[in-house]
Structure formats: structure tokens, C-alpha cells
Amino acid sequence: MTVQADPVTVDKAVEIERDARRRDVRMRWLLSAPALTIITLFAAGPLLIVLVYSFLTPGNYGNVKWIFSIDAWTNVVVQRDIFDNTLQWADAHLSIFWRSLKLSIVTTILTAIFGIPTAYFIATRSAKTRNLWLFLITIPFWTNLLVRTIAVQELIRTEGVINNVLRMLHIIDTPIQMMFTDFAIGFGMTYVYLPLMVLPVYASIEKLDFRLVEAGYDLYASRWTCFRRIILPLVKPGMIAGSILVFVPSLGAYVTPRVLGGGKNLMFGNLIELQFGQGRNWPLGAALSISLMVLVMVALIYYTRISSGGDKQNG
């Protein structure tokens, strides 16, 4: 049976559908309005202010003068010699950038080294004990960051737990200087950010179908090859997510380097804070903040490039 379409009816149906679509679109905008407002007001807005400030002149007592200047931006990487007025690399800044980058990478690698086996261990427990382990892993999250950092300080300071134990065991005579070194910062950040690595990796291992590993084992792969060819590629998304979650806050870390690194071993976050505080150079602080954002984005783009590069080799 064929249906003879009545042109009038069809036109009407098209019209009704179009109206419905319009209502739909309007409704969607309406529903997303609160979210859009919040994002504009509290994220895009401040960012814009920071961007504008970075092109202004520092005021005498903090704040800014509304005079356009790109000095802040040049000062991020170079500085003018106070004696002969020549431009020189801003060594202090560059070494802080470098330390931030280095410590963040080291932190990410260390959290991966400790976090991945931990995640694997938890994911392979029975459902009940698994929840207990996850609970234990997340406990530090409920504690203030400063408190956790001071706890680390208690461990590594000259009269701290580690040194005392080592001395009691007569392994060392004089305490090891751990506070106020890069080691202290790396150690502290690894401890603080470990759950951020464990959780996403755990999530992807938990999703992993271990029958796939059996299938690989059945098809003549050794245990190591099963790990490399089957587990690793399937868990990689979790590892990438974990690395990003650790790397990004590490690069901008402020509290941990401040407490454990002391005044000398600054990181990016501390440098920015300095400009808005004692330095009274808000435009430079603003320019540094944006530089940090750009650095993070470049690092992320580069990282996702290299880590997804090997994916398509099969087939």
C-alpha cells in the first residue's frame, strides 16, 4: 500500500517540527544560562582582568597604573641591567621555571612509579577490601593541604622522624639536610598528589577485562608481553589522565614548595605570589600567571601528542 501524501498536511507537519526545534533550542539556552553566567563571571572575567593588568604599569603600593606597557612581559624572560642598562636573561626567573618544570616532571614520574602498582593492587582486591583501600588512599584528601605538608616536614626535618630513626639505628651520625632542598619539594608533592594518580589509574584497571589477559596468555604471549601489549594500552588513558592531574597542579604548586622549599627554592607559584605581595609588581605577576597557563597548555598538548602517537600501530 502506498500513502498519498497530502501537500497541505506535509507543510503543516514541517512547520510543527520547526517550531518544536526552535523551542528545543531556546530551552537549551535557558537551561545552560546559569552555568554560562558563572563561567563568564568567575572564570573568563578574572582571566580577562589578569590579561589587561599584564599590559599596565605597576603602581607604587601594589595595584596598577592605567598606562599601557609591555615591560611586564619582557620582564618575564629578560631584565635590564641596573648599571649599564643592557638587556640580560632573567636568570632568576628562568631557573625558577626550570625548577618548576623539572620538579613537576619528577613528581609525575614518581607518582606514576608508586601509584600504578598501588592502583593495580587495589583493583585486584575483592570488592569489599577494595573500598577500604580506596578509602585509605583518599583520607589525605580530607585533610588541609597545609597540615599534610607540615606532616611531611615533621618526617624530613633535621630533628624529624627519618633522621632520628636513622641515627638511632646508627646508620648516620649527623642528620641529613632534607628540608629546603628540591628533594623536599619533590618528596612532598609526590606524597600530596599521589591520590590524583592512583584514582584514575585504578578506574581504568578496574574496568579492564582480565579475560583479555587470559586470551593473550592463551595466544602464546608471555606474562610480560600480555602486560605490554594488552594491559598497558588499555590502562593508558587512566595513566594519561593521572599524569595530567598531577602535572598541572604541581607546576603551579604554592603551599608545598613554600613550606618545604623555604625562601630559596621557589617555584612558579611562589614567584607569582611574590609579585603580588612583597614585589608590588602586579603586571609582572599577571604576565607570569598567563605564562604559566601557556606553559601548562603547551606541555599538555605535547604530552597528549607523544602519548597517543603509538596507538595506531596495530592493524
Partner: protein
Amino acid sequence: MIEIRNITKVFGAGEHAVTALQEINVNIAENEFFTLLGPSGCGKTTLLRLIAGFEHPSTGSMLLAGEDISLLPPNKRPVNTVFQNYALFPHMTVAGNIAFGLEMLGRPKAEVAETVDRMLRLVRMEELKNRQTSEISGGQQQRVALARALAPQPKVLLLDEPLSALDLKLRKEMQIELKRLQSETGITFVFVTHDQEEALTMSDRIAVMNAGRIHQIGSPRQIYDHPENRFVANFIGDSNFLNAKLGNIKDDQAELEFAAGRKVTVPLHRADLSDGEVSVLIRPEHVSIAEPTGNSHELTGVIENIVYFGTDTHYHLKLASGEAFMARLQNNPSEAEKRAAGDKVAVLMDAKAIQILRD
């Protein structure tokens, strides 16, 4: 090809111990389509996993082509598995999956490529070679899983309920496909199913399992026509069980007296029977019904219910002894419907239709 000698498998220990398999003895011949049939939880998967090497026997041993493989890990056994859920590698293409085993065996690249193409042709999946495994249908995944397991040319292919996830039509197609693959490759298939019809139509031999034990091993015909015991009879096909008394055993025949009254001389298929109470199996399609003649040696009953199935009709009777009995008669157009519930009828059968069970 595979010799399974007195294997028992216990999971866990102490009061939580589960005996999954008990005293399993099986010899599977080269190039055989061997089926493990039994209800869920009877130990089929466990036996398959033992052959694959994922589990090790608690006691007993296993030989493959005369060589003891009990302690070899799965990757050292020339045995491949088609998993129930297929377990295809989601991060590889169809071809990548099929190539995996060959690559692990270190075959040269050209040979791998050539074998992959041959396998794709064998399972008729050439066009989907470079698809991701998530982009193909369940039936196609099934074929890829088969091709992947066949590619390294194992001595034995293990299939754990490979068709149970497919719909009826596809399942029928794959049953034929599997038989074709088996005869084309000449590989020994050990096939697991809980579907008796599938087992009957596909297998060279069937092992019927229950609660960790093998109850009977035989060809589909042997299993259906001469089940060893009540479990096997009940599990495969429809069955009537009647109580009877066995006596006068002479050579290969004996006299049987039904509780319902009738006395017959029956041929015996087994030597392990003695005089006394026995259980007897009569298949519903092996009998017919007729007007009772009044002969005292007749098996008579009253029709309680008639169910029409198109191709045939099921008559549910209550025998004089009170036992329930079902007769299945084929319908044909010349015969009009002539019986109704409440009619008294006689059950007619050949003495050969009567099977005496061990328990």
C-alpha cells in the same frame, strides 16, 4: 589426542572448598568434534580451562598427543580457546586480533599477513579486515574470535558456549559454519554447551556432565537412544519414566512388568542389570495410542490434556498405575481429530522403545 586421566579439581580449601570436577576420565580423538554437555555450574568451563592451562588439576593428569601437559602454562600449549564473551582485544583491529597469536609465535611478517588473509577468507570476513572490533556485530565478533583462535593452527580448539550470545537464526548459521570449519581445518574441537539440541546436531561424541561428574560419553544416537541413567535421559529430549520390575534375565533379554500392569519381553543393552525394581525410559515419540482392547496385558490410561503443536500433538495421560505419561504423535491431514480429554486409551509401543535405566 587428549587423554584426561582421573582428574579432580577442588577450588578453595577447608569448609569453603568446592569440588568442581570429580574423577574425570575422557579420551578425545584426533579430528573429533567432542561436546561437553550439562546444566550450568556442572563444571564444563572448569574442564575446558584445565585443558587450556588456566587451571591446574588437583589430582590426575592430562596428556596431549602422548605428552604430559598437566603443568604447562597456557602459552606453552598448542591449544587455543574461543571465549564465551569472545574476549577480542578492543584496541586492535580485526586483522590485529587474528595476527596476535602468530606474532607471539614469532612467525615472519609475510607469513602472518598471508595467514591472516586466509583466516579472514575462511570465516568470510575479508571486507572487515581493518575495522575496530567495537564496530562489528556480535556474529562478526564471533567469527573474528574463531579466526583468531584458529590462526596459529592449534592441535585442539576449545569453544566455551560460543553460540549462546547469538540469536536463534544466527546460532543455526554458526552451527553449520563451525562444522564446516572443523572439517576444513581438521582440528580437534572441544565444544561446550548447555543446549542439548546443539550438542546432538553438531557432535561426533558427547560427554553428558552433572555436578562435576561425567555421566555418559557416546555418540548423539547412543546418548539419546540408550541413556545410562535418569539424569542423562531427562537432560536430553523429552522422556517418560515408569517404574517396573525386571526378572528372568537371560542373555540379552529379560522380562519386564510395569507397575501399570503390562508384561513384556525386552532386549537388554547392558550387562550390569539384575532382577528387581528398575526405572524405565520411554520416549514420547516412540509410542502410539489406540482404543483399548480389554487385554489385561495392555498399558492403559486416561487422556488428561491434549496440546496441539502444529507438526505434532502431545497427549498427556494418566496411567492405571497413577503415573503420568506423555505421547507425542505426528499430525497428518488424513487423520481428523478423534480423541478428547477423558477418553480411555491404550499405549502401544515396540519392545525396543523401552530403555532400562541404571537408577
